[in-house]
């Protein structure tokens, strides 16, 4: 049940996109987000969508995975669509008396849906093709200059790495504790709100106790290996920019430029 959560799930692979430098991938994702928000015309956004589909093709990750990652945001999509359809004025297509559906409303909401889908699908590709460790490593490297203004970049990145590492462990632990309390007749599925919150206590208390125990164990283990923060720390895996990283950067920047130009030529749907 809890195992079905797939936020930021990494699929190991060996595609071109998997092998890109994580720092570059992070930058490309930023560029891509800009690309998604620039178009004010369906044609421009369709071009962006095609770009994502092409990237998925290269990565070897199936589009059905994308469908699963889109499921949680479905309510948001439906909600914004409904708002847009009914509340944008323009050429009336259907008149229901108290509300009316307009051509502009349909167009804007279609654009909105496509934008959200592109945003989620594109940014998910980053976590699908980059292991959490590589990702936090990249964040640490990219934000390293901020150390000068007193931001503890290394410590933040380490905290993030540890947090990510422990998500599956804690999920497994929760499953175990839930099973153990159910074996003693704990009922977590019925009753009112108060009952349900109360039913969480037998789960949460042991979970916290075990999380603290694990944290202490981990701290001891890290100290045993002489960890003492980021000062003067070297890395086993050096990141090095390769020609393919440059190619990916050029392609994406060209794509961004293309989208901006296309947007200049095409009329905006926002009037």
């Amino acid at each position: 049940m809890l195992k079905d959560i797939t936020i930021g799930q990494y699929f190991a692979g060996d595609s071109l996109i998997h092998r890109l430098d994580p720092r570059i991938k992070l930058i490309l994702t930023m560029l891509y987000i800009a690309m998604v928000f620039i178009p004010t015309n369906p044609a421009g956004l369709i071009a962006v969508a095609l770009f994502v589909v092409a990237c998925y093709g290269v990565s070897g990750i199936s589009l059905s995975t994308v469908r699963r990652s889109l499921k949680p945001i479905l309510p948001i999509v439906v909600f914004t669509t409904i708002l847009n359809i009914f509340f944008i004025e323009g050429r009336v297509l259907v008149n229901l008396g108290f509300v009316q559906i307009t051509y502009e409303g349909l167009l804007v909401s279609a654009l909105m849906v496509l934008r959200i889908v592109c945003l989620i699908a594109g940014t998910s590709l980053l976590t699908y093709t980059t292991s959490p460790i590589a990702l936090t490593d990249a964040i640490e490297r990219l934000f390293a200059p901020m150390r000068r203004i007193g931001v503890p970049v290394h410590e933040l990145a380490m905290m993030m790495t540890i947090a990510l590492r422990f998500i599956p462990t804690l999920i497994e632990e929760t499953d175990k504790i839930m099973a153990a309390q159910k074996a003693r007749g704990a009922d977590m599925e019925s009753g009112g709100l108060v009952d349900r919150v109360r039913a969480l206590i037998p789960i949460l208390v042991p979970l916290f106790v075990s999380a603290f125990r694990r944290a202490l164990d981990l701290a001891t283990a890290m100290e045993c290996r002489c960890y003492r923060g980021g000062e003067g720390r070297t890395r086993m895996r050096q990141m090095q920019l390769m020609p393919r990283d440059m190619v990916a950067l050029v392609v994406t920047v060209a794509g961004l430029a293309g989208v901006i130009m296309l947007n200049g030529w095409l009329p905006s749907v926002y009037g």
Partner: protein, 288 residues
């Protein structure tokens, strides 16, 4: 009568995903009331998955589980809780599930979920504490400030207090020192003797199983390899070794002896039996 029975029980983890794994494969089993069963099998053989079917925590992918002759999953969701009171399951490292302010309250968690009266709850808590050897004074302590062995016993008492007809323990001695192990095993054996309830105990220690169990359930690669009396189970060490299991050291010694023609008699399972057999052999030699 069989207190637990399974028919073609199959369980598949993560069905339909790339991580699909057949954890139980067509299990047909019938455990009689009053037995003391040792469940053995290498890691990943399906032991833990199997016992979680016995108290309706896991739903079979296909096949049926009967408790006291009642089909568990045909009775509807509301009845599941009742089966969990009938078949008490003590998980591995059960002390990790303690959560209440006092040991007393934690042991009372099960009975309270059963909806019993305060008087009945009190009686059961004290009875369970007595079985596991916790003193009255300890009941008022926080479960987080007592020793490791005491925590384990408090957690076991939390299941005993439901007075289950069947008691299942998943490696109850894992991580305990030798004395703690003996205490736990002895209290389980005492509980079995005094209440006459059915007990299943998952263990990696062949010695413990040989010493306490009347029958042995051998799991291998998601299937039941055998379910038979202890003495028969340890009569063929080769088969067990091939499954990554073993027989108690003393049994192995007497096997070697009988292979050399020095010993002929029933299977030796415990040190006491070994001592007696050895004495008889030496005594016999003197007479000759």
């Amino acid at each position: 009568m069989a207190v637990i029975k399974t028919e073609h029980l199959t369980y598949i983890y993560g069905a339909g995903t790339p991580y699909e794994k057949r954890a139980l494969d067509d299990i047909n089993l019938s455990i009689e009331a009053g037995e003391f069963v040792g469940v053995i099998g290498h890691t990943g053989s399906g032991k833990s998955t199997l016992i979680q079917h016995f108290n309706a925590l896991l739903k079979p992918t296909s096949g049926k589980v009967y408790i006291d002759g009642v089909d568990v999953w045909a009775a509807g969701k509301a009845a599941l809780q009742g089966f969990r009171f009938d078949v008490g399951l003590v998980f591995q490292y059960p002390e990790h599930q303690l959560f209440e302010e006092t040991v007393y309250k934690d042991i009372a968690f099960g009975p309270r979920n059963m909806g019993l009266s305060e008087r009945e709850i009190d009686e059961r808590v004290r009875e369970a504490a007595h079985y596991v050897g916790l003193t009255e004074a300890m009941l008022d302590h926080s479960p987080f400030e007592i020793s490791g062995g005491q925590k384990r016993r408090a957690a076991i008492a939390g299941v005993l207090s439901m007075r289950p007809k069947v008691l299942i323990l998943d490696e109850p001695t894992a991580g305990l020192d030798p004395r703690g192990r003996d205490q736990i095993l002895r209290l389980i054996a005492d509980y079995h003797r005094t209440t006459g309830s059915t007990v299943l105990i998952v263990s990696h220690s062949m010695e413990d199983v040989a010493r306490y169990a009347s029958r042995i359930l051998i799991m291998n690669n998601a299937k039941v390899h055998a379910y038979l009396p202890v003495r028969e189970a340890f009569s063929d060490p080769e088969v067990l070794m091939n499954m990554g299991l073993s027989v108690p050291p003393i049994t192995r010694v007497f096997h070697r002896l009988s292979q050399k023609g020095l010993y002929s008699g029933p299977e030796v399972l415990t040190l006491e039996e070994g001592k007696a057999a050895l004495k008889a052999m030496l005594g016999g030699a003197k007479d000759a």
